[in-house]
Point group: D2
Chain length 345, copies 4
């Protein structure tokens, strides 16, 4: 039984980790860290857990974390940077859900985050936790930078075209739509129900931090620098990311050819479901599950591919992916606790 700590257990990513761990046959959430709800049971904060899991939340106590095998850190930025090195020191593996350990190049991090990195040595050691790309490195990692929702969706959607050379590295555009859980549980005017429902908008156009992370991975895929337009949007639903990706093609392709290319590229990936030609993903098909659904269309008129990629931002885009990483790190079947079909309704 893998003993896990969820630090930041009462945020949306944290509580989704707890939900998934609650039915994991080989792991157990033994420690739920929460500054704000210290002393309250998780089932008081999220009453859906009553009769199922009634563990008390507690303030961070590194000695208690030290008794776990792995800590998931879903902490506010800043809190996480001091804590993680101390957890690692105690021999506990870390799967970090923040942006701090996702970069190859510390300068890119410091430029986009506007601050010094606090643990450069750990950053160097950390592994980018996208199992479909780095499964082997994840196996033996001590620290994982678990990719977020926008990045997972955009990277997996664009990767095959760039990695195979079918797509051009120029003029890549990623137009992404996110549900509101992506903004977290904190209060803000824009998340007020009456402001949020019946509303859509773009935000952080041309400046969103995830741009740099997507560019890092797509550049490796393409073997050359890929610079992208990345536009995040907020849409009135709880769960779900839909990325629509535009990539110019290096020669004429039919939709069928592109679908075959994707199906082949991801043929061994359980969590990636490439749609048949003529079908397109919808966020509700992935809600509550760890699946990524990808549809591809060749616009033959323009010699351009339009890729549509959907996933659940707090599962494959956060908690589910973190558990997938944990499964790999601890020698479990990667699908354990994640082979569910999602809610649909």
């Amino acid at each position: 039984m893998i003993k896990t700590a969820v630090l930041g257990a009462t945020g949306y990513a944290g509580v989704e980790l707890v939900r998934l761990l609650a039915s994991h046959p080989e792991a157990k959430p033994v420690l739920l860290g929460s500054q704000s709800y210290d002393g309250q049971r998780i089932s008081d904060v999220y009453p859906n857990f009553r009769h199922v899991l009634e563990t008390e939340c507690e303030k961070l106590d590194l000695d208690k974390v030290a008794q776990c095998d792995v800590a998931f850190t879903a902490l506010p930025h800043g809190a996480s940077k001091d804590v993680i090195p101390q957890i690692i020191e105690r021999g506990v593996k870390v799967i970090d859900l923040s942006g701090d350990f996702r970069y190859d190049d510390i300068e890119v991090y410091e430029k986009w985050y506007g601050q010094k990195h606090s643990a450069p040595e750990l950053l160097k050691e950390s592994v980018y936790g996208l199992p479909e790309l780095y499964r082997d490195k994840i196996k033996n990692a001590r620290i994982i930078g678990n990719p977020g929702c926008y990045t997972t969706c955009s990277i997996l959607g664009a990767y095959p075209l760039l990695a195979t050379g079918a797509g051009s590295a120029k003029n890549v555009i990623v137009d992404a739509k996110s549900g509101v859980t992506g903004a977290g549980r904190g209060l803000s005017q824009q998340c007020h129900f009456c402001e949020c429902t019946e509303n859509s908008k773009a935000y952080k156009v041309a400046t969103h931090r995830h741009t740099s992370e997507i560019e890092q991975e797509l550049s490796k895929a393409a073997g050359e620098e890929v610079l992208i337009s990345f536009t995040p949007h907020l849409i009135p639903q709880k769960r779900g990311i839909l990325s629509t990706i535009y990539i110019n093609l290096n020669r004429k392709y039919t939709t069928e050819e592109l679908v075959d290319l994707y199906k082949d590229y991801y043929k061994d990936e359980f969590f990636i479901r490439v749609k048949d030609a003529g079908e397109l993903p919808e966020t509700k098909h992935t809600a509550g599950s760890n699946f990524v659904d990808i549809g591809v269309v060749a616009d033959e008129r323009l010699q351009r591919a339009v890729v549509v990629c959907a996933l659940d931002n707090i599962v494959k885009g956060a908690a589910g992916q973190a558990i997938q990483n944990m499964n790999i790190m601890f020698g479990q079947d990667e699908k354990t606790a994640l082979d569910r079909p999602g809610f649909y309704l």
Copy 2:
């Protein structure tokens, strides 16, 4: 391994059965019946199932049903009445999700449904599938009339007050609010997104069939005839029933006393969660799970109890309850595949 048939697998109750059975360790949905989607995989109709369950739907074939241990019948009214006797004849147990096998008194059925009952003998034999009330009879039943969402919510909410004599049988009022999955997957103007969102309404005031079913069970609880006002409402959410129940009290009670009464009454019931005094249920706490949340308030000024009861209409109000019944009938732990905390988000 219990071999199950889900007849009507592509309706909302049906597909929720398939979802829950897909992660049941001791049961398997081997046969998915669907007239409309014959020959298509369940994962074509509900793409959330891709990579998880890709069984082909098929038209009703009684010989194939005969190879199962139990059939869940979630068929349109009318379809179900001819089919069920033939399934029983073949030695297969039936858990029926329609209203046909829920009545003690055939005359009540015929009055509220406005038609002759097609299988009076089977009706006599059938057991009302509310495990919290009839667990022992369910164990050995061949045919279960699985209660619906409004009835489960209203009966479990009102039962303790009437069964203990704390509440009066006169002037019982049940004001129930239902999510739109309760109206099923069929198309209708009122279920069009643009008509349904930002809208609430009452319907079938004083005439809804479930009235009679609630009265049947509450009368047994009270030991005298209980007649109720039952008003169903449609509210703009997918899942969830909230019943607000008004019962005059036979003497003065405090809220604490009523809460104790409920906690005591349901102390052995895993799926019933009585809220502490001062807390009230919310539909989202039960969404996706088989739990029933109950809050009670004594209005001391009026010597009246207000009971608020929440559940997920397609889980405890349909598919989850059906599986709970199956678990009991086949000697499984009643909680199997149902001990999940729900989605919350």
Copy 3:
């Protein structure tokens, strides 16, 4: 041209006042009071006003208010009580949207609000601003206690039955469902989109302040004390109140008789639309308009009426009613700026 001040212009009731005044041919919002957005244009806070109304919001300045004909006070409780007497002193009429000036009996106010009233003399003078009941008094009032959403909906729904003696004063139950604008624009966990959507709940059961206000008016209708169960619920939509009201009947009635009774009672009321027998109101039919839709059903089996009443909580339940009162006070046609059909979509 009536010069109006809207104090508290950036809350939801306030901004709806501004929206309606912006197309009132005989009134003008010349002063927009806002503590939080002092110095910002209303069109900065609510960008829907750009190119239409770009007035700057300002802190309260009584000398400026003194130049208006009427002030709408939609202030946080507490703020309002000091300000209103000073406005009245300056010869400006006040239409107050708080609960402070709605009571006949100061003791009832002080009991339900748990505090001393700050202006007992003004309270005595104030007129309850429900035009359908007090049109004549409103004409000459200096200060109006403008009724809120729950009270308007519940009083107008129940009034005819109690005023005509058709209904019994005993066992009156009002089960009300409200959209989220009713909770205002302030931030709270329960109004976070992700907590609010797909969720319904009851709150303040047996203790909501509006109970006392409804009882005050219905007692006057019945000519005897009427005590009610009033249960407010929060449902996932922006606008709309739906009150379902249960009243025992003093003799047998058919639905048709009750509908006739209501149609006759309200035959001169433009803003009240009584549904034909067999039809029921829906909140979306009233959204964005000042109309109140009422449907009545006689449950002959139980000798009980079920009345369903719908309105838009921030129009007829706040801003629209305030303008209706203003129209009456200033000799305008009562319907001015309010004779629109609502949005539907």
Copy 4:
């Protein structure tokens, strides 16, 4: 008083026309055409109209249409093509909301619509009803091809960059998100509330007919052929279109420069509101109004503009624009009945 006929009055575009005409001081909807609701009052079909407008809907009768000054045709494709020439013959002006009269080049129409055009002569005469571009021609037109939601939003958003030469005609990408009213009132599985809420998806990728219409206008703006990727998406809200447009810039620009360019370009347009640098449009700011909100960002890193454009698809994208056209055609102030701020809530 302009006498108007609304043919197809009970669809979503039609009923929005009726709503806006109901408060137009100089026009009156004297004839409401509806095949499906012949003989029913508009207030029976849309009860928000009760007490405001209770006109009976009627089947098409050309003699009655002949007594009107203008007919708005919001008919199903096919119905419209036979009817319109006959209306024109009778000396009644036509504002057609279908795609039939929006094309300069009949071949483009026939290619994208897959059929012969039924009235080539009328097509030649017809004027594209985008007042911001063709105000002068609209004044004297007999027949207007009223642009739809996607096209209005995309053309107005992209126009200034292409018309001024700031933007390149190559690699223009329009990623558009639409509310569900855009799909009309007809029933379909995808518009069922339970399928639609909590869901987003792309559709008709690379093949949507509006592509050709946008290309027609943008090519005229650029003075060279502009081919675009146009991807429509369905998002879970009723009203609103948000177009995110990517256009490469011909030299380096700052955001401020682009904002100035847009403000200057649209400086005389009441219905176009260009956001200040740093601000972005949101669909709810335009809901219920005829406004178009545009935000522009220069991605200096990539020398690319990202333009975000929002409008209400059934107002500026259909009914409001049609009335704006009518106002121009009949010498009214263009803003008449359209100078409202929208709902916000």
